[in-house]
């Protein structure tokens, strides 16, 4: 069996999750505390990937990143980055595609904290940054974990966006979900089954660990 698609899948998921974690915290923090009028607009944009067919997202990204268009050629000429049919392109697409899976749990976690926690911290002379890092985030660990795992699992399972923007280039953009499709097309059911079983097991184990760690699952059903 060719391990490369699996390695690529998990590499993509790890990188995407790491980037998402860093950018989602400020977004979620802003969304949970702002009273700005543009908040609903931003919330909608963040949530769009939940309902939009991945192919729509993939299509527009393909168009935008294509070197034949203004944005794509600017990226290509000035930064030397080609986002279509490349691993970097997959990362960018995955980050956008999985954004709600990271932002929403963190935002919900932050909103559930009583506002007096951060107010108390401010009255002690602590900055917003210190308050976020030392008070808010440590108290929403289950939400952070949920965000990380959902984004990771979602990235592992994505197909449409990858196919649209990354294509099927072995070692570069051929991730496990594409490989499965490929093998099925080639009527190679045994290989498709191996990839599928591994993805299934890994995803199952990860999610199970989250529920065990966050505890809520068993507590709810034990009552």
């Amino acid at each position: 069996m060719d391990w490369q698609p699996l390695v690529l899948t998990f590499k993509l998921a790890v990188v995407t999750t790491a980037i998402l974690f860093v950018i989602s915290i400020p977004i979620a923090n802003w969304l949970s505390s702002t009273r700005s009028k543009i908040r609903p607009v931003l919330e909608t944009l963040v949530s769009m990937p939940l309902v939009l067919p991945p192919t729509v997202l993939g299509f527009y990204m393909l168009v935008a990143f294509s070197p034949e268009n203004a944005f794509g050629s600017w990226l290509n000429e000035w930064l030397g980055i080609r986002l279509i049919f490349s691993f970097e392109g997959l990362v960018v697409a995955s980050v956008i595609y999985s954004l709600p899976f990271m932002v929403q749990p963190i935002q919900a976690g932050l909103s559930s904290l009583p506002s007096t926690l951060k107010e108390a911290s401010y009255t002690m002379g602590k900055s917003k940054m210190t308050t976020l890092l030392k008070i808010l985030l440590p108290n929403i660990k289950p939400s952070l974990l949920t965000g990380i795992v959902l984004s990771f699992a979602h990235t592992v399972g994505e197909f449409g966006v990858v196919l649209m923007i990354g294509g099927n280039m072995p070692g570069k953009t051929k991730v496990a979900s594409i490989a499965i499709y490929d093998e099925v097309e080639a009527l190679n059911y045994a290989a498709a089954n191996s990839y599928s079983l591994i993805l299934f097991s890994v995803t199952f184990v990860i999610l199970l660990l989250v529920y065990l760690t966050n505890g809520g699952y068993f507590k709810r059903f034990a009552q």
């Binding site: 007096t116 926690l117 108390a120 401010y122 009255t123 002379g125 602590k126 030392k134």
Partner: protein
Amino acid sequence: MIRLNLKKTLKSAGGIMALDLQLTIEKGQFVTLFGESGAGKTSTLRMLSGLLKPDSGTIKVGETTWFDSHKNIDLKTQLRKVGYVFQDYALFPNMSVRQNLEYALQKNQDRTIIGELLEFAELGELEQRKPETLSGGQKQRVALARALVQRPEILILDEPLSALDLKMRIKLQEYLLRVHKKYKLTTILVSHDIGEIVKLSDCVFELQNGRVIKKGTAADFFGLNKTSAKFRFSGEVLKIEKEDVIYVISVLIGNDIIKVVSDRTEANDLRVGDQVLVASKAFNPIIQKL
């Protein structure tokens, strides 16, 4: 001296209220804001501490201007450094009692104050415990000790004792008074409990619909100075029973229940739950050593 001149339109469940108040609080005083819920007490405290921005007005503390809408001055909460004890205590769940206090330390501040406060608040044995394992009274003491770490000049107490049982309340009231004197604070309390207010405060402001409608010393405020009677207490009516031609009124004073005989002319005006003044001449009670 703290001078507040605040205007703010507040939206609440009961509709829109225009808060418009002027308050002057002398340095070192223990002041109570009194009034129905929704009168603007908590909003006033939040504006003083910078957690809520007034629509217009000024806040001056000593010689410093904290807020001035005309001069565009609005000192950040972080720089106002008031000790604020929230109604829900707002203890940080991820930190132990000691860590909660340590978090409040300022840059380069002498750490010995942590030990001093833990000892003063009798929290020594609890210092490694997490807030969720503490009782209401213990949480209250942690919140108060934590508010004092940065050595504020102004201490704000938003209904700090309302969630506690009577015994704990009496104990903490004494503790609040000790803290107020020991650290030479200007303390601003929100409370509904007349006994508590009389016991603690030098001065009372009554707020109604966002305005100060009455102020005075605590004893004057509730009319306790209106008789020459020296043997007097305020309390809450617990029970009114008719017996023969008279009425026996049970009154809760502190944690004692006393009984007062009354004629129907007075008893008819009283309801269970009323706050009352009980007074007698200093000549009448007997006193015995226990």
